[in-house]
Subunit: 347 residues, 2 copies
Amino acid sequence: MTAAERAVPGEGTPAKPPTIYDVAKAAGVAASTVSRALTRPGRVGAATAAHVRQVAADMGYKANPLGPGLRTGRTSMLALVVSDVTNPFYAEIIRGAQSAASEAGFILVLVNAQESGRIERENLERALPTIEGVILAGTRMSDSAIGVMAKQRPVVVLNRDVPGVPGVVLDNAEGARAAVEHLVSLGHRSLTYVAGPEASWVDGVRWHNLRQAAADLGCRATRTGPRAPTVAGGREAADALRGTPPTAIVAYNDQLAIGLMLALQNRGVRVPEDTSIVGFDNVYPAQIVTPGLTTVAAPLRAQGRAAANALLAARENPEAVAGKPRTLPVKLVVRGSTGPVRRTGDR
Amino acid sequence: MTAAERAVPGEGTPAKPPTIYDVAKAAGVAASTVSRALTRPGRVGAATAAHVRQVAADMGYKANPLGPGLRTGRTSMLALVVSDVTNPFYAEIIRGAQSAASEAGFILVLVNAQESGRIERENLERALPTIEGVILAGTRMSDSAIGVMAKQRPVVVLNRDVPGVPGVVLDNAEGARAAVEHLVSLGHRSLTYVAGPEASWVDGVRWHNLRQAAADLGCRATRTGPRAPTVAGGREAADALRGTPPTAIVAYNDQLAIGLMLALQNRGVRVPEDTSIVGFDNVYPAQIVTPGLTTVAAPLRAQGRAAANALLAARENPEAVAGKPRTLPVKLVVRGSTGPVRRTGDR
DNA sequence: TTGAAAGCGCTAACAA
DNA sequence: TTGTTAGCGCTTTCAA
């Protein structure tokens, strides 16, 4: 009986996938022998192994990871938590985590928080017993809640420094410096930072580094916000910028920068002639707006990969990965949204 | 002993989540009683039930779905297959499927094909034994391969008509008609359709309907392509459009339309003054480009939800859902990329 | 109303 | 080298 024959029995009745016992019976050996032949080829007679593998292949047998998972807790599943799947920021992170996971034979469970702490908690709790580790790409959990979870399962945090929990962050200092240097080289002597969410660790770091770099390079830096890290938030920020807008704006992220740019343009402000705008992340839409957005590019996909790999490493050896978060380099991508200062010394 | 105390025992040693036996022992009842108290409150004494629930809550007990999953195959997991997570087209679909799944107490496993049939097959095979059903949002599988899989697990296909497999499609006829009507009302008397991938079911349907609508409304329709359904594909299409571009272009999807628009603008073509452009889907970037893209909006999130719900329904009653795919309405969103014809009768 | 026991698919440990 | 057995966490019989 071939795989195809088994797969299409009556008609509507979904054919159950074959179990290891089906294979064992068909091959005339014990189930443990099948298991060994498939997972530990060395520990079984060559002829038997070949035969078993042949039979298993014919039947289309796939070991159900739930079986051993029950014993060992090894389900070959990882969870990735994002605050909103719809946010392009997560797209490349998801992709990176996905491919690293699947290369290691793992399945990726996507937990979408839908920007709600409650939904995040519910979904994560539901997934938790099933999975072997968690990547927190965007979360509303507190540091202490993360710490508690990290006691139960390996956890890797992205773009956040949670003491005692391994993390992958970006070189925000370098990014801020590059952005300011670029603006200064264009003749800008002051800039306005449009802040993101108040609670955001990254926001604090970015503003700190920006101010630092500005001070070092003789540039005045002011801060406005906080705003939601979205296009809508950017539009609001533009509305709040009454009168003549600043000559240079650095936004918390690309989404905010794009909203800002669109709203300012709508108001008749020319970008970059009147106002230069810089974002962070180099999200996909940044290259699609007109003019293209100058931005501090984050290696998003690499970040996703790094997170998944760190998790897999933590699974093997929980002690090894703790400590300082891993820092990934960033680089400034210059597009059309930044240009030389035109106006001189306005307020 | 409270949940917190159990959660943080030694230090580094990850605390195992409590099993039903832990709860049973703590509550002084049999495991089966715990199970009943938690899942079938009616079939257990009121006092016992309350007590057990209290103890379970204190210990932070969550039933591990893998246990019963082993018996019944009910793992409370659904898989969603997309050809590329990075594609904004899938963002809202993922979100819709995710929320419908999690409302039903299901976990969503994300299978990313990375535009490769091989990777898709590997990832899906790995996930298959674990999951209860599959949503194929974007797949390279053949109709027959899908049919075979549908015999083993409930399957729902998006934007494709696979005989015998439940599906959720868009009202492409209505969409095409709306697009053509809009263009005709602006004075356009001819349009060019830039086709998407050759193998795409949707592409065929869109072109067919477009031609039909154009014929009905006295408009000439020509076709060019096929192109990759991406911004890059759109740029290539623009390059291939030598000489004066058509006065009206309808693209296979928004991505293609955006690439087309950016490349044409780059070449000095004004949109919509020289050329009007219409896309399909109303993907997020469509509202961010300048001018905004006129597009046939698909209820992407609703589609994701509908697919997940159809899958859950199929799980209960496999026979009920087969038959004609469910059709979701679309509507034209008019933005700045379309305008009245300026030039007259150029070839 | 409650408890005891069996079994889901698999593999590790023990026997032969 | 191979087979037998036990047990992972849970629910569902079957008994009490």
